[in-house]
């Protein structure tokens, strides 16, 4: 039995695929951010100013300032590499974060955020910020995500690693 090509179905499928592709492209365009490191941001300050960025860094505990009345939060983060493999080679995220915080020569940047202070924001935590760099060199974060390397289990002390 030879079947006629099913035009209705083809047109329907075509419309749906087009709609899907359009949605994906339109939404991707307006909501993308470049994932960069603190160092990259400082090296390319002028080009990146105003762009939507996503950045990861190690939280410096003593720099955290929070005004709960206005939900005004600021803190500094220190440079950590953006590459998973590199971090693994350097001995894991916990170690990288600790070294970054304790090394005064690492590039640092001030983050400003308006909102509720996350529970996990503390010294040597990994913060992932979405936002943009202001003219004053402060990173204005619109979204703040905290990651603790020991989020789910406390790692064995350093000396225990084989």
């Amino acid at each position: 039995m030879k079947k006629k090509p099913n035009y209705k179905l083809i047109i329907g499928a075509g419309v749906i695929v087009l709609a899907l592709v359009y949605m994906l492209i339109a939404a991707s365009r307006s909501n993308t951010q470049y994932f960069i490191t603190v160092e990259e941001l400082q090296n390319q300050q002028s080009e990146l100013q105003g762009q939507k960025l996503r950045m990861s860094g190690a939280v410096i505990g003593e720099s955290i300032q929070y005004d709960p009345a206005n939900l005004d939060l600021s803190f500094e983060v220190a440079q950590i590499p953006g590459d998973h493999k590199l971090i693994a080679e350097m001995g894991g995220m916990a170690k990288v974060l600790s070294e970054a915080v304790n090394d005064p020569n690492r590039p640092r940047i001030t983050i400003h955020y308006t909102g509720v202070k996350p529970d996990l924001l503390k010294d040597e935590a990994q913060a992932i910020m979405t936002g943009s760099l202001g003219a004053d060199g402060v990173f204005e974060a619109t979204e703040l995500l905290m990651k603790c390397p020991s989020k789910y289990e406390s790692a064995l002390p350093d000396q225990v690693e084989d």
Partner: protein, 669 residues
């Protein structure tokens, strides 16, 4: 206990290998029946696996700190129920528990003799079991012990790492992270795992079917119970996660498009599509190819979701630490993907159902649209997840999409989908006439218009909110109208209702989706929030309510943490509604605190308060108070989803044939 646990696990893996060899030998001889020896060995293997899980639980409960996993997740002050849940609180334990869940599903299927009764199906399920057991055994073994060398240095290893090393049990752990100390932790992971595991069986059976028969006939009837069970557990698991995340501040609200959430939603979307195409196959023997593709895709997407969670490739609140599992898991996933594609391509012609697209608005077509929309949302989510990985591979810099992407790209599809769902029951089988459609929709349409008018007048002027309320009201009114119409037609409404439980189960599920949408509208469109700094006696307004701060209290609920609570009274006018106690549990030893929201929940909505900051010496607190109208309908709707599917599930397969006729009769006018 180490010997029992590790030994039993090793033995059970050995038995799995023996079964693999036995089954492979049978297959070489072209024998499809599973030998009795394999059945027996599988059962013994499962018993050993279970024994080994019990041994690990014993280690946790007895706080045996010679075990490295126990050091990681247990501390003396942890209550016993959390000591048990710590089994899935860390990477090694949860992978081990997951392999046990797979084994559990396999054994149930094997012994109930509905599916997985051929060597091929058994083989594929066994390969999955072996793979995850292997990961537990060789990469993330939960029985690893802590050893001390003569010079005092410590190391983690299964067996003695060198001469003079002794098992060391002096490391006392800090225990489960405070954020995980919630009863969501007790049920959310296991239920999700069961949902994940239950999808393996239809997957394995379908691969087997493609190899052995490959025409797509009679497959769905045998898979239906498992697919429904898997779907119920998956739904419950995702919802519980969402509810937990709403109940605890640290997780980012009921839904944040976190990569792990998104990754678990994709198999849900695909399998929901599957429930629809499966229904058509049962009734009209069409859409067989689509079924098979969706079954295979569901499980492959579950593997993908596990990969996202475990490998730490993408930043997420769920992320476990970095782990060695990503490479083997990727290879495993790609191998099964290639295998599935090859088998489907091979049997493509044979599975043809001869269905033709005849009308734009027959119920067949509407099912097809539903399916396409669900899959489209799935593709959007998958795109969002893969985008950072793809851009990194192509350009070297990672470009990520924020949640605005999902909100913008998913919402339109979702709204169209729900609208479709609302009108779908009005359309009869095959081509329906527009006139008939108009007549049926009159009363529900009037009800929906009234509801959206009311929403416009009293709730919100936003057109999105009004449109959403219209859709929800229309959908619910249609479901009620049709049920009433059905039952008035028959003499014994009770009997009809019970006989047609797959039909009314589906109605219940659809009502659930509508209620979830109502909840989302409430939280996203109607919520109101205020924050302020208060001293005792201060009152701040929140909509029509008043939020009054009474005092700050603190006490040690357990020696581990100090519970600080703000006593806050909620007023409406002069009427005292009740007290909420937002606060913080302060874990001094680990310099961490967990915010505990204070909530007052009613069907009309929640008043949700968070203690942002407090100063005991100065006596002030900072609070954020939010009204989340209608939010609880989200959880009620989710309950409807599970109950509706369970209701359908009780309808036995054999009687489906007769029920089909009834169903079509009810749809006639």
């Amino acid at each position: 206990m180490f010997t029992i646990g590790y030994g039993a696990f090793a033995l059970s893996m050995l038995l799995m290998l023996v079964c693999l060899v036995l089954v492979a030998r049978q297959l070489v001889r072209k024998q499809l029946e599973i030998p009795r020896s394999v059945r027996l060995l599988t059962n013994i293997g499962f018993a050993l696996h279970s024994l080994s899980v019990l041994a690990l639980l014993y280690l946790q409960l007895s706080q045996d700190y010679s075990n490295a996993y126990v050091v990681g997740v247990i501390n003396p002050a942890l209550p016993d129920y959390l000591k048990v849940t710590a089994l899935w609180g860390g990477q090694a334990g949860s992978l081990f528990f997951w392999s046990w869940i797979i084994n559990l599903c396999l054994v149930i299927a094997l012994n109930r003799r509905h599916i997985l009764q051929k060597n091929w199906g058994y083989l594929f399920a066994l390969l999955n079991l072996l793979f995850f057991s292997g990961i537990s055994m060789f990469l993330e073994n939960p029985f690893t012990r802590v050893w001390q060398f003569a010079d005092g240095t410590l190391t983690a290893s299964l067996f003695s790492p060198g001469e003079g090393a002794m098992v060391y049990s002096g490391l006392i752990g800090q225990g489960l992270n405070p954020l995980l100390r919630h009863w969501g932790m007790v049920i959310h992971p296991p239920i999700l795992y069961i949902g994940f595991g239950a999808f393996l069986l239809p997957f394995a059976e379908t691969l087997s079917h493609l190899i052995v028969k490959g025409d797509g006939e009679d497959l769905i009837a045998s898979l239906r119970p498992w697919l429904l069970i898997a779907w119920i557990f998956l739904t419950a698991g995702i919802t519980l996660g969402s509810w937990w995340s709403y109940d605890v501040l640290g997780w980012g609200g009921y839904w944040a498009w976190d990569p792990v959430e998104t990754a678990s939603l994709i198999p849900w979307l695909v399998s929901t599509g599957l429930l629809h195409s499966m229904f058509l196959t049962q009734k009209r023997n069409i859409f067989k190819r689509i079924n098979i593709i969706l079954i295979l895709a569901s499980y492959l997407l579950i593997l993908f979701s596990i990969l996202i969670t475990r490998a730490g490739l993408i930043s997420s609140v769920h992320a476990f630490g970095e782990s060695a599992v990503s490479m083997p898991l990727t290879v495993f996933l790609l191998a099964f993907l290639a295998h599935s594609i090859a088998l489907v391509a091979w049997r493509w012609k044979k599975m043809d159902s001869g269905w033709e697209f005849k009308s734009w608005y027959s119920r067949d077509s509407l099912f097809l649209y539903t399916l396409v929309l669900l899959v489209a949302i799935g593709i959007v989510c998958l795109w969002g997840l893969l985008y950072p990985l793809v851009t990194q591979a192509l350009t070297g810099t990672q470009i990520t999409l924020d949640r605005g992407f999902y909100d913008r790209a998913v919402t339109p599809f979702f709204v169209v989908l729900v609208l479709l769902m609302a009108v779908c029951p009005l359309v009869g089988w095959s081509a329906t006439t527009l006139k008939k459609f108009g007549k049926r929709s009159l009363i529900p349409l009037a009800a929906a218009l009234a509801a959206s008018m009311a929403a416009y007048l009293w709730l919100s002027k936003s057109w999105v909110v009004v449109l959403s309320i219209f859709i929800v009201a229309l959908g619910l009114a249609v479901l009620v109208a049709i049920t009433v119409r059905d039952l008035r037609k028959t003499e014994k409404p009770g009997t009809t209702f019970w006989k047609m439980r797959s039909r009314y189960g589906a109605f219940l599920v659809h009502a659930g989706i509508l209620l979830i949408m109502l909840g989302i509208v409430g939280v996203e469109g109607l919520s109101d929030s205020i924050q302020g700094t208060l001293i005792p006696g201060d009152r701040m307004p929140l909509g029509e309510y008043g939020v009054e701060y009474i005092e700050l209290t603190d006490h040690y609920e357990s020696p581990e943490y100090l519970s600080v609570r703000a006593q806050i009274d909620l007023w409406r006018g002069d009427k005292l509604l009740g007290r909420v106690t937002p606060g913080q549990d302060v874990y001094e030893s680990r310099s961490q605190y967990v915010s505990i929201p204070g909530k007052r929940s009613t069907l009309a909505g929640d008043i949700y308060t968070i203690l942002l900051d407090y100063d005991e010496t100065m006596g002030y607190i900072s609070v954020q108070a939010t009204i989340n109208p209608l939010v609880n309908w989200m959880w009620i709707g989710s309950l409807f989803l599970c109950l509706g599917a369970a209701f359908s599930l009780t309808s036995p397969i054999v009687k489906e044939q007769a029920v089909r006729k009834e169903d079509e009769k009810l749809d006639e006018d």
